[in-house]
């Protein structure tokens, strides 16, 4: 069975994008207690900004990458300052429905601006297929793995060793106490939201060079991110990353059995987890 490493590799590549998106979602959900059903649209917009900047405006890939991410982060900040501030303390129904509405709006905005046809972001690399550790891959895929690993390290350092990082972790665990201690909650929320959006955008750009860019990719990304969050619980960033990778791998292997239902692998996993562990894989019963 020497194609197994290939499936593992492919699964990890996709899993990395899931991880980047899920981490942001976990942060927003855990910190602000808002179920952001529009999160996947940052992924979509990152991809489309990059497409627009490189293919239409004519920038090179790397500049386009940076500008796209900054653009999505700015959008995230605006949304956080307006809509999400209104949603603070709102019921779950309100935040779910409002963010779903936002998600549909953004998806159809993209549809109207860029059209329904799938597009592709041109790779910055000259070479096509290469062989790496016995698997067939492309430089873009390797870049995805590398970028994700880098982000994970940066996140780890940032959360553990910077003032802001510690503040985030403290607020994550105990919001009221953090406010009492003098942490500027507003600024923290905006920062966290922006980072989450930026990470999703990064995933969008990188994956957009590997696969295609289309308006529906945001909605699917949101679903997958919530699958990760549901499976792993919302208690930790590490859970979000690990969960994303696991989902990617599961889908990759699921595709061996039933390629058409690949997306459903995660869905079925969620159903199974709910059956045996109604509170996610970690968590306590209601009482």
């Amino acid at each position: 069975m020497d194609f197994i490493p290939q499936y593992v590799f492919n699964g990890l590549v996709v899993g990395c994008s899931y991880a980047l998106i899920a981490v942001g979602l976990t942060a927003i959900f855990g910190l602000m207690e808002i179920a952001n059903f529009a999160h996947g649209q940052f992924y979509m917009l990152g991809a489309y900004f990059s497409y627009w900047l490189t293919r239409i405006v004519g920038l090179d890939f790397w500049t386009g990458l940076v500008v796209s991410i900054i653009g999505v982060m700015l959008l995230g900040i605006i949304l956080e300052r307006t809509l999400f501030r209104l949603l603070r303390g709102a019921s779950l129904s309100s935040s779910v429905l409002a963010t779903i509405a936002l998600s549909i709006f953004l998806e159809n905005l993209a549809l109207n601006v860029w059209g329904p046809r799938p597009q592709k972001i041109l790779s910055p690399f000259e070479t096509g297929g290469i062989e790496f550790l016995g698997v067939f891959t492309t430089p873009d895929r390797l870049l995805m793995l590398l970028a994700t690993a880098l982000i994970v390290i940066l996140l780890h350092i940032g959360l553990r060793h910077t003032q802001t990082g510690k503040a985030i972790r403290a607020t994550f665990q105990q919001r009221e106490a953090a406010a009492l201690v003098g942490i500027d909650i507003d600024r923290l929320y905006t920062l966290t939201f922006a980072i989450g959006a930026g990470l999703a955008a990064l995933a969008g750009v990188l994956l957009g060079t590997i696969f295609v860019v289309q308006p529906s990719m945001g909605g699917i990304a949101t679903l997958k991110a919530f699958v990760v969050v549901t499976l792993g619980g919302i208690s930790s960033f590490a859970g979000g990353i690990a969960g994303g990778l696991v989902l990617g791998l599961a889908e990759s292997f699921g595709a061996i059995i039933a390629p058409a239902y690949k997306d459903a692998v995660g869905f079925i996993l969620v159903m199974l987890v709910l059956l045996y562990r109604p509170d996610g894989l970690l968590g306590k019963k209601w009482s």
Partner: protein
């Protein structure tokens, strides 16, 4: 939203008038197009009312509701195309089929709440779509199943009624919608509905007061699915065609807007919302692409700024008006 009493007797007159208008509608509007809009709105009336039981009364944010609608439509299509079962039969089988699926799904997901519940309902609809799309032997996949004919009524001694015409199908849909909504309304305004309210308002307290929250949640889930499935059959026999598109989230969005526009937790509100929201988009004639952008914006504004919907606003205005009258007399 503060719940007040039942409908007062003075509502009977406008209701009677409305009933009269509804009965002579085909004479009033005449063209097939308006009747088409009317029939579609009646299908959505059933869908919105059934969704209100879940979202409005029980507080269960089930966002996969269109799946039950689609399952109902598909089962009607398959029963008709393979066995020749007419609407009279498929209506109930579709409802029962959707209810059974809801019951099974409920076993899995009704012991969770919050975002986990929500996402699972969305996922469920996606799984339904994938199945409809890929199980081509059964469903014909993307192409869909055409050729589902409206029923005829053959009662010995009476002339044969063919419901193929728009006006005839309108009356059929009107009857089905009227019965469905009144059943849903009665459920909501009975001790069963009160238990759902208790579940929505404070689940722990409800349980401590003697409400088996698991059971009442299941009841809400299963009965709303029944009516959604029934609406699916009604839709299938009218449009004559089912496809995996029926599982798309856009249908759920439409139903949600109807529920929130009219006012969740009132049954009457979503009914009004369904009629308004079927007519308005047709009246505004915006292209399909911009349509969803505008709809989603409307939903966003409703949820954030007017969650009580039209009925809630109406009640608030009425309260203010009666209070003014009281102070005027004082």
């Amino acid at each position: 939203m503060v719940m007040t009493g039942m409908a007062r007797p003075s509502v009977a007159v406008p209701l009677g008038l409305l009933g009269l208008v509804l009965l002579v509608l085909p004479r009033l509007v005449g063209t097939d197009y308006y009747l088409h809009v009317a029939i579609i709105s009646l299908v959505f009336v059933i869908l919105a009312a059934s969704l209100d039981l879940l979202v409005g009364y029980s507080g269960l944010l089930s966002l996969g509701h269109t799946a039950f609608f689609a399952f109902g439509a598909y089962s009607a299509a398959l029963l008709y195309l393979h066995f020749g079962v007419p609407l009279w039969g498929t209506m109930f089988v579709s409802g029962a089929f959707a209810a059974a699926i809801a019951w099974l799904l409920g076993l899995l997901i009704l012991n969770v709440r919050g975002h986990r519940f929500v996402i699972t309902t969305v996922i469920f609809a996606e799984i339904g779509r994938l199945i409809a799309y890929n199980w081509t032997d059964l469903t014909n996949g993307q192409i869909g199943l055409p050729g589902i004919r409206p029923p005829v009524l053959d009662i010995p001694g009476l002339p044969r009624i063919d419901f193929g015409g728009r006006a005839a199908y309108y009356y059929l849909a009107l009857a089905v919608a009227a019965v469905s909504v009144s059943v849903i309304w009665r459920m909501a305004h009975s001790p069963v509905g009160w238990r759902m309210l208790a579940l929505r308002e404070n689940e722990r307290l409800a349980e401590a007061s003697g409400v088996d929250t698991r059971q009442i949640a299941t009841t809400a889930f299963v009965s709303s699915a029944f009516f959604a499935g029934l609406a699916g059959a009604l839709y299938a026999h009218y449009t004559g065609f089912v496809s995996p598109d029926l599982f798309y989230f856009s249908y759920t969005t439409t139903m949600l807007i109807m529920v929130f526009l009219g006012g969740k937790g009132t049954i009457v509100g979503p009914v009004i919302g369904a009629v308004l929201f079927t007519i308005l988009p047709e009246a505004l004639r915006v292209t399909a692409n911009y349509r969803l952008m505008i709809f989603s914006l409307i939903l966003l504004l409703l949820v954030v700024f007017a969650p009580e919907g039209l009925v809630g606003l109406f009640n608030r205005l009425r309260l203010r008006f009666t209070r003014q009258k009281k102070t005027a007399h004082a």
